[in-house]
Amino acid sequence: MSMIATRDAYGEALAELGAENVNIVALDADLSGSTKTGVFAKKFPERFFNMGIAEANMTGVAAGLAATGKIPFLSTFSIFAAGRAWEQIRQSVAYPKANVKVVATHGGITVGEDGGSHQSVEDVAIMRAIPNMTVIVPADGPETKAAIKAAAAYKGPVFVRLGRNKVPTIFGDDYRFEIGKGAEVVPGSDMTFVTTGMMTAQAVAAADILKQEGISARVVHIGTIKPLDKDIVIKAAAETGAIVTAEEHSIIGGLGGAVAEFLATSRPTPVEMVGIRDRFGTSGKADELIKYFCLTPEDLVEAARKVLQRK
């Protein structure tokens, strides 16, 4: 299985978009090497704006660029984009429906060694709460490329959350990403993993383990957390009767929250949530932290057993 970091896929996609459309511009806050906007900056220096370590201003400047017909992609670590500039995203970007794409890298705990200060575990929740906002969390490189291109084609604010580390490629080059559409990655009938970001690969591994035990687990990847693909979720609830959500994010307000909100009001179904349990992150290696925060395939298997008992 090939491995690529979603931020690397973003760098490639953005540079490709830049060649296709002169209105694509990029902004960064002194992290262009890490966020990979540097690839774009090298090719199109006149359309790249380093705004220095000033995320609030960067967000407003992006909104102003959008007001002149540009399609700005702004990037920094997710904690500084979604967190530091939350109200600027709300007021200057989402409220006017500005055509700004916030592509936040280094989301979640797999940032690793930098520790809790840099690990955004609540970014999806606070972005999802903003009206007009579309929230995308791709699973792998190919989906990231497709999602970045879909975001550029879509008119309006989009938040895309990417990761630091290499993740397994799940989708083939023929994968068609559509904003608001989930994807069934593994068929199954006993229960469903509804997952996002890097947790989809973990769920695929968990489904393999369960298969050995004679349990047929479906894996549904939710690339767009908002708007949620209600059809694919309700189909999973109806056909498998038990759901485990999994995300590299707090269990408060992210994918688990979105799925639970929807199912509670439409088709009450037993749901277990795998995610960060209302805690801050901590320093460590990414793979150590995945174990520490109980985000391994084995943790997913345990959650599946638990939800099956409630079925």
Binding site: G52, V61, A62, G64
Partner: protein, 276 residues
């Protein structure tokens, strides 16, 4: 500029002041003091300086105006109505449910409003973005951003000032409506922002200081800002909160208070207007 043109702008500002008072009185909600302190500059921009086309608000060749101190929306709304962006009767719907005249400027709702402001400190950043975008397009349109002096307490303003200086945005002109008062009292007492000009200068701006109610001085400064090359320009305009209505002038207590039934005719009388 010819004397008679200055006089025309002064007359325009006088009538717009009356419109502000009437609309705020009708709404019984909104910001009187900061609208009256800013209106001379707004009148100068819309009727003496900016290229714009009310029949085609999105005309590419237009100059852009950003009301960073969004609570002075009434001052922008009366100018937009007077210019013909929408009927003057709409002014009486300020802040009402279903009205296109929101409490603070909303580009989705109101023709002629470029961006959303209201949360202080965010407008100048958006103006910087517009100036960068227009420069990329090799447009000769200019961007004007009107800030309050209390607003300068927001740190983002200085991030924006830094970036405008860094990118040498000589197509950007900021105007500071320095009326010296904010909700809780005198700006110098709440949180001193002076010296304003020196701060902008340190970030790489040209600085002009004027009396923000002297129409000839406003027009002269706007003209100079257009001539200055290689740097953005800030016009620090010393103003009087509530200007034009003596019993509103220099009172922080009138920051967010509309004229009452009894005050409206009195206030209009001070502007030389008698209502039937």
């Amino acid at each position: 500029m010819e004397q008679h043109q200055i006089e025309q702008l002064q007359e325009k500002a006088r009538l717009l002041r009356a419109d502000i008072l009437r609309m705020l009185h009708k709404a019984q909600s909104g910001h009187t003091g900061g609208s009256l302190s800013a209106i001379d500059m707004i009148a100068a921009l819309y009727f003496g300086k900016m290229r714009h086309n009310p029949a085609e608000p999105a005309w590419e060749g237009r100059d852009r105006f950003v009301l960073c101190k969004g609570h002075a929306a009434p001052a922008q709304y009366v100018a937009l109505a007077e210019a013909g962006y929408f009927p003057k009767e709409d002014l009486m719907m300020l802040r009402r449910l279903g009205s296109h005249l929101q409490g603070h400027p909303d580009s989705k709702s109101t023709p002629g409003v470029e961006v959303c402001t209201g949360s202080l400190g965010q407008g100048l950043s958006q103006a910087v973005g517009m100036a960068l975008g227009l420069r990329l397009d090799r447009s000769d349109s200019r961007v004007y951003a009107l800030l309050g002096d209390g607003e300068l307490q927001e740190g983002q303003v200085w991030e924006a000032a830094m970036s405008a200086g860094h990118y040498r945005l000589d197509n950007l002109c900021a105007l500071v409506d320095a009326n010296g008062l904010q909700i809780d009292g005198e700006v110098t007492r709440v949180m001193n922002v002076t010296p304003i000009g020196e701060k902008f200068a340190a970030f790489g701006w040209h600085v002009l200081e004027i009396d923000g109610h002297d129409m000839a001085a406003i027009m002269d400064a706007l003209h100079k800002a257009g001539e200055l090359q290689g740097k953005p320009t800030v016009i620090v305009a010393n103003t009087v909160k509530g200007k034009g209505v003596p019993f509103f002038e220099n009172k922080a207590s009138y920051h967010g208070v509309p004229p009452s039934d009894a005050e409206l005719p009195e206030a209009l009388k001070h502007l030389g207007i008698t209502e039937d």
